[in-house]
Symmetry: C2
Subunit: 322 residues, 2 copies
């Protein structure tokens, strides 16, 4: 497939594996790159900027194809040395950065000076327009369906993607709700130049996620996600478990961040993703979890999605029009 996205970023397929805290590590990113899609290493998964530099090098050791680093600025309980992480990125020779959370304006001069292409992920058309204005190269527009942070507008992809396509001039990656070739074909029809997937890539062989968690994902339906932190205006879509339910009930009781935060914080990533205890804390999952039925290799997944979308376009859709 050839779109403005594949052309701009020099990848074979219009598919991005988006930044995922704890999960976006070198093995997964290299597998995605080698499968011809664009993987995003998650900067803040690395405990220090030095560790990030080493992790970027690890990806380079495993692939010579393009890959990106995700750089997410979000409210956190402890301060993070964002500038130092950004320095590690720009000095690493990485050619693509995915920004998310806040507008990346303050970091743009450093990025542009190095000729680094920027994909900014956001959840509304107005934020996408602001990002286009400050010179990002592409927008990843993230709908209500997505894992992690869907924003506070609750606009699903069916609306958000064509609205973004109407307003933006730069390439658009459709994010949230995608897990198969039907979604890819639909996104392209809606005006996107590619799709971003996180949850679907979690359930691949190469993802650094415990088999228990992958099994939970395969068995889950589209009804097994929960929005937490609504009351804090920092909404996050999580897999429904005892912890997410507890957080929601604490919010309903009017509890504040200093009480809720420690219950829900990502500190439990190790217990969930590495040790496979799905109840050890909250963990992100998008609604497309209902469309996930297996744990293929990254290459099997990418090839299947592209093949399915191509077949849909050249067979099913063509025959409807004929």
């Amino acid at each position: 497939m050839k779109t403005r996205f594949t052309e701009m970023f020099g990848v074979e397929h219009p598919i991005v594996q988006g930044g995922m805290q704890w999960v976006g590590r070198a093995e997964l990113i290299a597998a995605v790159a080698n499968a011809g899609a664009l993987g995003c290493l998650t900067a803040l998964t690395q405990p220090t900027p030095e560790d990030l530099s080493k992790e970027i090098q690890r990806v380079k050791d495993m692939t010579d194809k393009p890959f990106a680093v995700n750089f997410t600025i979000l409210p956190t309980l402890k301060p993070i040395p964002y500038d130092e992480y950004m320095d590690a990125i720009v000095q690493s020779g990485v050619k693509i950065v995915e920004t998310a959370g806040n507008n990346p304006k303050v970091h743009m001069p450093k990025l542009k000076e190095k000729g680094i292409k920027v994909i900014h992920k956001c959840t509304s058309v107005r934020h996408a327009l602001s990002a286009q204005k400050i010179g990002v190269d592409a927008i990843s527009i993230d709908g209500f369906e997505c894992a992690g942070h869907p924003g506070e507008d609750d606009t699903p992809g069916l609306i958000l993607i064509p609205r973004a396509a109407d307003q933006l001039d730069i390439p658009i990656v459709a994010s949230g709700g995608f897990a198969d070739g039907r979604g890819l074909a639909a996104a392209l029809a809606l005006g996107a130049d590619g799709i971003n997937m996180g949850t679907r890539f979690m359930a691949t062989r190469e993802a650094p996620v415990h088999p228990n968690i992958k099994e939970k994902m395969v068995n889950a339906s589209e009804l097994d996600t929960t929005l937490i932190f609504r009351t804090l205006r920092n909404t996050s879509r999580m897999f429904t478990n005892s912890v997410s339910e507890k957080v929601v009930s604490m919010e309903a009781e009017g509890k504040k961040i200093d009480e809720i935060g420690p219950i829900a914080s990502g500190q439990r990533g190790k217990l969930v993703y590495e040790e496979g205890d799905s109840e050890a804390g909250v963990w992100s999952a998008g609604m497309c979890i209902g469309l996930i039925d297996d744990v293929p290799t990254v290459k099997e997944l990418v090839d299947r999605i592209v093949g399915e979308a191509e077949d849909l376009i050249s067979q099913r859709l063509k025959s409807i029009v004929a």
Copy 2:
């Protein structure tokens, strides 16, 4: 276009104009039928079963093409003689009925005896499977984006449509979030056999809606809808106005239906739709309101949507794959 939907219902285009309280009257339904799509007359918009019989006859006087009657069973403040409305429908010679709200099981024998085809509209895969089991002919699966009643699952079409396509054997109409040819092409890619639109048809010349309201719709964005009645588990998506805001704040205060109901009830349909006072009460609008920029005739709209979808499939999508 030719799909299982167009074949089963004998219409030219895979487009349904879904039931809309107050708006689904003879002139609009006949215009939709004459444009080659499937219009649904809304049974309960008529004050009595006798009025419904007359309204069905009015449609027949304006078109000889197929059309449907929408029959919605929902919680209401005053009791409604559903059986008498259903008798008026089956005795009218109408060949297609759209059911919504509750499962239509009790009405199926009457409908099937007359050879009437049933499209059941629902908001979850489990309800769709129940409806398929009792013998409905097609499912209209209604996503979180929709106007009126999206249910309580909050599952958008990007997830709901492929999930329904995976589970159901009968034709599927994708509903909620559709307003243009991009949406039609996307729905077909996701596995639907057609699309249902309500809000988009409200902003047509033939819709019995005051020009002030149509102008409000043209100027609105995807952020201008509000969910009311969440606390009553009878969620409804409405145009954002002073009344919907008041209802939401009454709900937040824990007020109950006997206080909220009179504020929000559909009794104000005449003031809103006929007299054009957009603040006279709550009125339904889907998120696709952000994709509506004009007030065409029904035929212009239907032709444009089909043409746009055909062009997308045979040009844009084809060139991406080539």
